[in-house]
Symmetry: D2
Subunit: 213 residues, 4 copies
């Protein structure tokens, strides 16, 4: 795939996954955004489950910590500023804020409560990653072009190496999926497929950016 002249000014090296320094960040795979009855459902979450589980299960075998990010909004705010732009959703204490059961999140995994699109914005994600000695993050979930992408941007600013398996992410539409993955691949990290990560965990092979020239 060809890269535009501006984006082409990049440094590029294959991603060498180091499981003892890596964590999984699963963004917003909550009932509210996935399941019938949710207040803001993205159609077709089902196709994400199998590749996500493949990455998660293999990561668990290498003792990589799993961070589950939940979009949760406090009740009874005088002026919830996200809701000036988006419909209310993710009310604290509601079914909607739970991780979909398909993914078998464990209570003793690490759960992060976020209030805005980015998993880093006014949460303890960054300090917890550092208390876990993490330097590499594998980020996926919904939606690619908003919460996943905002999380990836902040992870990059904070200096993490970033891997985004594209088949574990869904956007609000096909153009947005392609465009956000393109921006991530050229400016923030490495975009790959879930089986590249599984292979890397099994064999130690480096992972190439899917969009790299």
């Amino acid at each position: 795939m060809s890269v535009d002249v501006f984006s082409a000014h990049k440094a590029e090296a294959p991603f060498q996954l180091r499981p003892e320094k890596a964590a999984i960040i699963v963004v917003d795979m909550i009932n509210e955004f996935c399941k019938p009855g949710g207040k803001m459902v993205l159609p077709g979450y089902e196709k994400l489950v199998s590749p996500q589980l493949a990455v998660i299960d293999n990561a668990r075998e290498h003792d990589m910590p799993i961070f589950w990010v939940h979009d949760v909004h406090r009740k009874n705010m005088r002026r919830e500023r996200e809701f000036l732009k988006r419909s209310p959703h993710g009310e604290e204490g509601s079914w909607g804020t739970e991780i979909i059961s398909d993914l078998k999140a464990r209570e003793d995994d690490i759960h992060i409560i976020k209030r805005r699109y980015s998993s880093f914005y006014q949460t303890d994600l960054n300090l917890t990653l550092k208390d876990m000695r993490i330097e590499q993050v594998i980020v996926f979930g919904v939606v690619t072009n908003i919460c996943v992408r905002s999380t990836v941007a902040d992870a990059f600013f904070e200096g993490y190496e970033i891997l985004v398996p594209q088949d574990c992410c869904a956007a609000t539409g096909p153009r947005e999926q392609e465009s956000s993955l393109y921006d991530i691949a050229t400016h923030f990290g490495v975009v790959c497929n879930s089986n590249d990560i599984v292979d890397a965990l099994k064999s130690g092979s480096p992972i190439n950016n899917i969009i790299n020239d």
Copy 2:
């Protein structure tokens, strides 16, 4: 223009510009990204100049502060982490970090030095906006899909009302321009044209989101 089912869950109100509470944030209109000889040139910056000047000149008449954001990187870092992903650019002290002369930036405008894509990340932009009593920001510049968009995202998290004039922004390619403006319009703020802002400043008319159903 039609909006996908997920993005459609939004609150929408016309933007009522209040010049005494508003500021312009011009992102990265520096030689390095615009002018021949720059290290990372986006072709075609010329077409941005006239609409940008229209907004800036009218804003000046209303005493709105102009914030000029410069992407500047310190020299001699042991491991400049942005340069692990992007080619070196914006060296401090170089011609490349100056605002293009076409825009007639003034020394007594407000100049912000940033180190990463977002104009908010580890800069004094947020506190300076607050010391200027600003609640609304008009954001534009280059490139739409990276530095403009990252700045818009952080401005939204911080609670500012956001206006993005599309003809004052350029992306790395047409798909990225459309996709980032779509995401901004549906999740972060109001996308409009430069003349909507000029009209609003002259007549007080509200500004409608260009992408709104």
Copy 3:
């Protein structure tokens, strides 16, 4: 009380409490730091309860939100960096992290979980204060010279007007109590007594800094 020559360079105005813009922030009044059996007990918390309740009860009558800050540390971190300096305490899920029952915290008050001394550091306190439209904070709890003071410092940087009732705070020792209150009074906000706040809520009277020349 006399102020040193450096600290004397200050602006000083009586504090005009506006209940509709004000919130209470109660810092770390948890079992761990107060009650027998806690892992890090400050002797003599009992004398704080009555003045704290006076402020809290009067604030509730004016519909001021109460923010209860809990110092809570995640379990099983690979290297919990606070515990490189301080003994382990505040384990998540433990009795120690609950607000002491004397203060009658309500579940539908606002509860903030913090990981470090400052109530602002990587928590959602700041965005929640803003979603509640708060501009003034009354801060107290334990210990004056560490967690209260760190919270006050960050509140000042973020632009809140700050009131600290001295009889609602306890330090690790008398010199530390006096010294931190002096620094707060000269550099961060207004130090007063609990009954000044009660009076202000009843009569609208301004509150004077206890240390002001």
Copy 4:
């Protein structure tokens, strides 16, 4: 020196200085706070110069980077919120914001502009430390109880190991000097003397906290 019962709950290990991972942060040794004619002078800065130079000169021999923090305030803010509490000072472009010439700061050292008491608050200090691969910071300057202490607190939250040479710091008064150093020693880092650092750089000897039981 005896430590109170609350503060005594600490972990304590001698500080092993690693010059290739360490930096010096000199806080606010600017004309405004030191020299006759400054707007907010702390009497007696002269006694700091010799121990500060001893640390700085030895650090330079080990290629440790020197970070000079300047307190600088923008002009013409509509409401400079620090000046609601403190008299105006540190005007950008003024003589007052320059490092005192006694310390021989170099232009190619790292200079950080801060707007509030903490050297970390909305500055690029943290990302620059990380781009320099720094994990340990030696912090000193003026005034111990406000800007030095705020910087130390944020450095601790960010996970740096901290060393504060007491004879390189001055507070607004003797009680404040003792109290802030006590808090730093018990809750944030290691307090020592300048010659302990010089010795450690020469011999590799560990540095003990001056206040440790």
